[in-house]
């Protein structure tokens, strides 16, 4: 456990350059600077590794990098998405706090592969501790001559800067993030064109998640096959999971893909005394909820979670026991999406508002018998009809909560109160 992105977590001075180098850090970067590792070889290893983007969509990282027009003249950019805002998700924060050099090295390698000489790490505005750790790490890397222009006489150039957000979940969407980085409102762009062609300041840009970048140095140092073999087919390697909610010891765990959910639950101390499992949101608040029986049979990888009816998403496992009122849980999520919709697309702007108001009305004891059908029809109109995936992430949980826990919603509508004892 905790072998790659979180491997410094129990060390003294986990975020320091010295600690990173004793764990083999910057070995790959030095190899590159010595001219011993070509971009083609790196792309090949990433492909063998089966590394899929850890930000939620799971797009193969090596393939994404190969889309960049590396030989095109002019500035190109590498951007790291450290906006971590999906409810239930908090492992990027630990990577940034405890292993910032892995992100720096991963981004530098990406810059080399794609011929992009400038990188930005977009860190959410509230993450001040992670930001300071990253700033310290950047200073160490510059002082050690590992970043900058003509690094160690290699002709390789890479400058890296941290950027801070100011509170907007939507800026985690990659094109909203670029808008924000340009100093604008964080409203997602229409695609195409894709960032690889028209990205930051109109230049070719590749955006990856914090954990994606942090995984790269270790993969290249130990080999793509080594990484792939840690996981299961179609889900290479290990992945950081945040396990939160009704468990004894909520924590982040970096474990092999394919680990049974029941084992992960044990790692988190299991349920509290006398409680039983009700449901699990496996990939962050935007992914459908899975009822207990199915969850106990799934393994933590893309395919198994999909088979169970949800998505691995950002790897944020929200555990709910029998004390949880599912109506209240869904209402809280609906409020979040209503608050965070950027308002550009009518189905999303209106739909998130509708869903929240209807759920709120149910919670206020004013629910009507037709409300569940109304919720289902609103969410259905939101799916696939918008510029970005926020609307899908707002809609899918609604459908799944109602499907799996319908009797709780019906009870609330009929009696004006929760079916769950502890939630008056």
């Amino acid at each position: 456990m905790n072998n790659i992105c979180l491997k410094s977590i129990d060390k003294d001075n986990p975020s320091s350059l010295a600690t990173y180098e004793t764990m083999g850090g910057y070995k790959v970067w030095r190899k590159i600077l010595n001219g011993e590792l070509s971009p083609e070889k790196i792309l090949e290893e990433l492909k063998i590794a089966g590394l899929r983007g850890r930000g939620g969509a799971g797009f193969p990282t090596g393939l994404k990098w190969s889309f960049m027009p590396r030989n095109q003249e002019g500035q190109k950019y590498v951007v790291c998405n450290s906006d971590e805002g999906e409810p239930g998700t908090c492992h990027d924060r630990d990577i940034l706090r405890f292993n910032p050099h892995s992100v720096i090295e991963g981004m530098a390698i990406a810059g080399y592969v794609m011929n992009a000489t400038v990188g930005y790490n977009y860190i959410r505005g509230e993450f001040m501790e992670p930001y300071y750790r990253c700033e310290e790490a950047l200073k160490e890397a510059y002082d050690a001559g590992l970043l900058g222009t003509n690094i160690k006489g290699s002709k390789v150039c890479f400058d890296l800067y941290s950027h801070l957000g100011a509170g907007a979940y939507i800026c985690g969407e990659e094109t909203a993030l670029l808008e924000s980085l340009e100093g604008k409102k964080g409203q997602p762009r229409f695609k195409p064109p894709f960032p690889a062609n028209v990205g930051l300041y109109g230049k070719p840009t590749t955006i990856n998640n914090t954990e994606s970048f942090a995984s790269v140095p270790e993969i290249l140092s130990r080999g793509g096959q080594w990484f792939a073999d840690l996981g299961v087919p179609n889900s290479g390697g290990t992945k950081c999971f945040s396990v939160t909610g009704n468990v004894k010891n909520p924590s982040n765990f970096e474990i092999p893909m394919g680990t049974p959910f029941s084992d992960l639950l044990k790692l988190a101390g299991g349920l509290r005394k006398g409680r039983t499992l009700k449901g699990v949101i496996p990939g962050g608040s935007s992914t459908p909820v899975i009822p207990a029986a199915k969850a106990m049979k799934m393994t933590m990888d893309y395919d198994s979670i999909e088979k169970a009816g949800s998505m691995l998403g950002a790897g944020s496992v929200i555990v709910m026991d029998d004390t949880t009122c599912m109506v209240k849980a869904l209402t809280r999520l609906a409020h979040f999406y209503y608050d965070e919709s950027c308002g550009q697309c009518t189905p999303c702007r209106e739909g998130t508002g509708w869903m929240y108001r209807v759920l709120k009305r149910i919670m206020d004891g004013q629910g009507k018998s037709e409300d569940l059908e109304l919720l289902l029809s609103v969410q259905d109109k939101m799916l696939g009809n918008t510029i970005c995936a926020l609307a899908d992430g707002a809609a899918m949980p609604v459908e799944s909560f109602i499907r799996h826990f319908r009797e709780e919603f019906e009870y609330y509508i009929k009696h004006g109160k929760s079916m769950v004892e502890n939630d008056g």
Binding site: G88, G125, H163, G186, T244, K328
Partner: protein, 157 residues
């Protein structure tokens, strides 16, 4: 309007972006002047940021209203931003927010009578394994209990 110290800080951010792209620094510029102004923005400050970064006033206004972390009305000396999203909710955040409101005799969104604190409900702050949690200034406080909240409040001056 913008102090020399704040200008110095803003310049550090401007230097991170390419020539002519100083508007990339607008979010940090607003954060910096807001902090200096005791936690909220005014029209004059937004105008000053627009002038300093050579941006249209309307663009600065749009940014200032789009992002959650800017305040447009005065706030307490300390703003307690309490997460009420799912992982925190499952661990009792609502109860703690009520406790905080009662203890301080303020509602979320309001300032205490001595103007020392205001309380805000916020969405996930990305520290869900430490739920329930809140942010005060740059600092996160995790695994909160009533007792821990008492201690934190005692420490606020």
């Amino acid at each position: 309007m913008i102090s020399d110290q704040a200008k110095k800080e803003i310049d550090i951010w401007v230097a991170k972006y390419p020539e002519g792209r100083q508007s990339s620094a607008v979010m940090q510029a607003l954060t910096i002047v807001q902090k200096e102004n005791g936690g909220s923005l005014t029209n004059e400050l937004k105008q000053a940021v627009a002038d300093y970064l050579e941006m249209p006033t309307i663009s600065v206004e749009e940014v200032a209203t789009f992002y959650e972390n800017y305040n447009h009305k005065p706030v307490g000396k300390h703003v307690i931003r309490f997460c009420h999203n799912i992982s925190c909710m499952l661990n009792g955040s609502d109860e703690l927010i009520s406790y905080l409101e009662e203890k301080l005799d303020v509602k979320t969104g309001e300032i205490s009578k001595d103007r020392l604190v205001s309380v805000k409900r916020v969405e996930c702050l990305g520290a869900c394994v430490g739920a329930p949690m809140c942010q005060i200034g740059d600092q996160y406080y995790e695994n909160l209990t009533k007792k821990r909240i008492d201690e934190i409040l005692d420490g606020l001056k």
